[in-house]
Symmetry: C2
Subunit: 316 residues, 2 copies
């Protein structure tokens, strides 16, 4: 029987977006072990690490070693975050499949997070695009705070669409709309996704949600209803938000896969295998993770009935 379920492409970000937020350094061999296990789960893409300055993000100071030591699987793209030309050179030397560039849709958030104006970021990323163009490496632009900024508030759709156009004009063919601090809500997601898809039909869009306000799953379904078929998510839901201490972080991969499969989509993910990888996380990072599936198991997890159940009703 042919598989007629619509395909959803899952992209794992835990080892970059998750690990970079951990105060405790994850040993290189543990990172490699997690990534190698994830590589066997059916992801379309894995964001392995970040080629930022080791001083800025010491948690990922072993980027080269990680890239060299992982065992790549055919069919999986290995992407890394690249902030500047220096990072691009380091990343290219490791044979990446994709460079993930990032800037914020909010001027204040860009200044706060990247310590540059948006124009300065764009100029820098333009250089990165030039440095990579001509190689076989794909380029993705991640647009932070596309659904709102924790300092400025709302971000207009037109503003996001303008920046997509500027990157499209550089020849960038992949873009991620990031809900960096969990401000996106379903009707907003549907609206921006639909406009972006209609205006840039050649662009491959990813949606990147945070579950900070418990809307990541509803947002994913809203995005799908607008034609999106590609999501970032983080194993265990790790990777928090500095503006909401204690709140959930990134959309949780296993929770999203579980829901999407129940909804009739083909995520290509081996959920049982994925849950075993997720179960490694609390030990590695030294704390509990937001994942619900890890605690409850899938809905097909059956429990034994108490012994007395069989006796009930026999002697009324």
């Amino acid at each position: 029987m042919p598989n007629t379920r619509p395909r959803i492409y899952m992209q794992e970000v835990a080892t970059r977006d998750g690990f970079q937020n951990e105060s405790q350094f994850i040993e290189t061999e543990d990172k490699v072990r997690v990534i190698d296990a994830l590589s066997l789960c059916g992801f379309a893409k894995i964001e392995v690490t970040s080629f930022t300055s080791p001083k800025a993000i010491p948690a990922l100071r072993d980027a080269e070693r990680v890239m060299h030591e992982i065992t790549r699987q055919p069919g999986v793209e290995y992407t890394v975050l690249v902030p500047n030309v220096r990072g691009a050179e380091r990343a290219l030397s490791c044979g990446i499949d994709e460079a993930n560039l990032v800037m914020s849709m909010s001027e204040t958030h860009n200044r706060s997070n990247l310590r540059m104006t948006r124009e300065q970021s764009f100029a820098q990323l333009e250089q990165v695009v030039s440095a990579i163009s001509g190689s076989s490496v794909a380029i993705n632009i991640s647009l932070s705070t596309s659904f709102g900024c924790p300092m400025e508030g709302d971000v207009s759709e037109d503003e996001v669409l303008r920046w997509i156009e500027r990157f499209a004009n550089l020849g960038v063919t992949r873009a991620t709309l990031c809900d960096t601090t969990g401000m996106a809500y379903p009707s907003q997601v549907r609206s921006l996704s639909a406009r972006a898809k209609a205006l840039f039909p050649e662009m491959v869009f990813t949606l990147h949600f945070h579950n900070t306000r418990s809307m990541a799953q509803a947002n994913a379904l809203a995005a799908i209803s607008a034609g999106i078929d590609r999501f970032d998510a983080s194993l265990g839901g790790i990777g928090g938000c500095p503006y909401a201490p204690g709140a959930s972080g990134n959309a949780c991969t296993e929770d999203m896969v579980h829901m999407l499969e129940l909804e009739g989509f083909d995520t290509n993910i081996d959920l049982e295998r994925l849950l075993k990888v997720s179960a490694m996380l609390p030990g590695l990072i030294g704390h509990d993770v937001p994942s619900q599936l890890l605690k409850a198991g899938g809905r097909n997890t059956l429990h034994p009935a108490p012994a007395y159940v069989a006796e009930i009703g026999l002697k009324p």
Copy 2:
């Protein structure tokens, strides 16, 4: 300007479904304080307590005192859980607005949880309906495990619809489809809700979700798309599931209200006031609560930008 936003009716269950699961007894005056504060938040209904045997659920052994000491607000219905005729007599003596009856759609879950066969439960509830009929007290039937049983697995829609019909035939006009252990998923919710609404157009339906597998919010939107306009939810998301230790419990009221208001619905809830009540919970129950809103605030919560932001870009 007239309010043209579709109305969603919110029903708070924390002081019954939440408190009954707490190992630590909540003092009567604290319960009353929480209920009185909830009464000012705009709920359509509050499930105050349960008239089960004090031996079976000692956490709610003060049901009469709570009912007598709360300050009722006009426009809010005060409902209580009533398991049997003895409970109905106790509840009626307290001047309740509604009696909430409960049985399970799964034979095994009913035996396990209520220690009766479903037929025995129905016979007992038939007596309760008789005892209450003729009074001005409304009757609601809560159908546990309507979306799946943790011991049996799937529960068929036809089975749920058959039990609704049996209660409708007793004159019961209100029914709650309960996702007791967080097994419901959006397309399933849409399907059962639509069939139930179509078959029993006179029945007032409530949907009761648990966020055990991170789908409560998506399920609420799915239910609304099938014409449902009434939800149970629990302040702070308290009220766990014995089959998933550590996982989220009931759908969280403030998380649901926040999303539904953003989606353009009128929940009639004062979210700011509600969050203040939710903030009382960790102190009362002695542990953190699953609520995301309590940690992150609403999406309109703005944070100050760091001081250096203003300087950036001045000296390029």
